[in-house]
Amino acid sequence: MTELLRFGLLGGLLGLDGTAVGQFMISRPLVAGWLAGWVAGVPGMGIAIGAILELFLLVSFPTGGARFPEGSTAAVVAVGVAVPFEGSGAVAASVAMGLVWGQVGGWSVTVQRHVNGRLLSEDIGRHTGRLGRAHLLAIVGDFLRGAVVTVAGVTLGRAGLGLADGRWPVDAGVSTGVLYVGAAVSLGILLHDLGGFRRRRVLFVLGLAVGIVGARFL
């Protein structure tokens, strides 16, 4: 229960960073995953999950009015789901849950934004104190939204993964292989955004060679 509460608090705080407060990008999956792992006493597992989710969400940004998957919710829920399980599918299943719950988080952000619109009345200037109060209320609401969505995700995810724990039919190599294939699409999209392979081929291939050779020395 205490652990669930900690995940909820973290989800609420990181949810604020996504849009409402600062945007220091501590809500990115890489950071959020490590923080969630640190909260649960498994920072190594946290950043491993966060890094895979970061690969998926490299091309997802909190731009304007667009609905985007919420990276912090995805990462905290994924780590929260993975913690009690040890089977070969724990990481893959929790990342999948994180991807799903990131979308739920994105949807909840949209709802919060509609609520914010109602908090701000048309004649807000008539009462100078009202602007500050409405602003503060919206921020508190966003924190609660992030916390509730995170707790719900961890609870549901643990119940779901509990059914499959110990019964995962494939080894960890296959499970992570599926994840990497999915994440590779995002890397391709990022190169697409940079002008495509034809325009960036020299720099990209140079980097690819450095990466492959460098990895051999690890």
């Binding site: 220091f24 059914l163 391709g188 140079l206 492959i212």
Partner: protein, 238 residues
Amino acid sequence: MLMRSLLIQGAWNYRTMLGSGFAFALLPTLKRVYGKDPEELARAIERHSEHFNAHPYLAPIALGAVARLETDQVDGDTVRRFRTAVRGPLGGLGDTLVWATWLPLVAVCSLVLYWFGVPGGVVVLAFVVVYNVGHLGLRAWGLRLGLDAGRDVGARLTAVDLGGWARRLQGPLAIGLGVLSGVVLSAPGGVSSSGPAWAALAAVAFVVGLVGGHRVWRPAAVVTVGVIGFIGLWGILT
């Protein structure tokens, strides 16, 4: 005003977008200028609570310029027109420079560090510090620019050529993306550890993303979740 600009999206909504946050960030300035005239203060707050949209990191440019105009007692309609004129460029420019370039560049470099075996805490610290040097530097520089330039902020912004900075950073990002792809492919625990078939599938998936762009992201995520869900269900039922 710089600290308040960190909360400019605190009440983001579909009606005024950053509008109320803009007024919130400007409130101390408005109180200083119109403090003795409650009616004028109310009109100024209403004026600045109207629809406004810009990239949050570049919004301080508009905040600074508008604060300068209000301090100079420029008439309300002129301030309103100025505010409307600057919001578009600040949105597109910020999206290109920050979301499409700076953030992926720092994230890709951090992921490369992680896959090269740098301890997780160091990777996270490097990401947060490097990213926010750029982030907070941009906010502080923008506010100063706006306060200095006032209504001439457009010309000063053109001279600085932030779009050019984005283009210059895209080269290093392409190299970093290449390094990351190579490391994820070859490092221990990477795609190759799952077997050559998975490496080939990942290469095909990369090409799908390269050709399809953003429209294939969601289908790819759905397929990934679907396959993992199917594996889990298969385990439960057998």
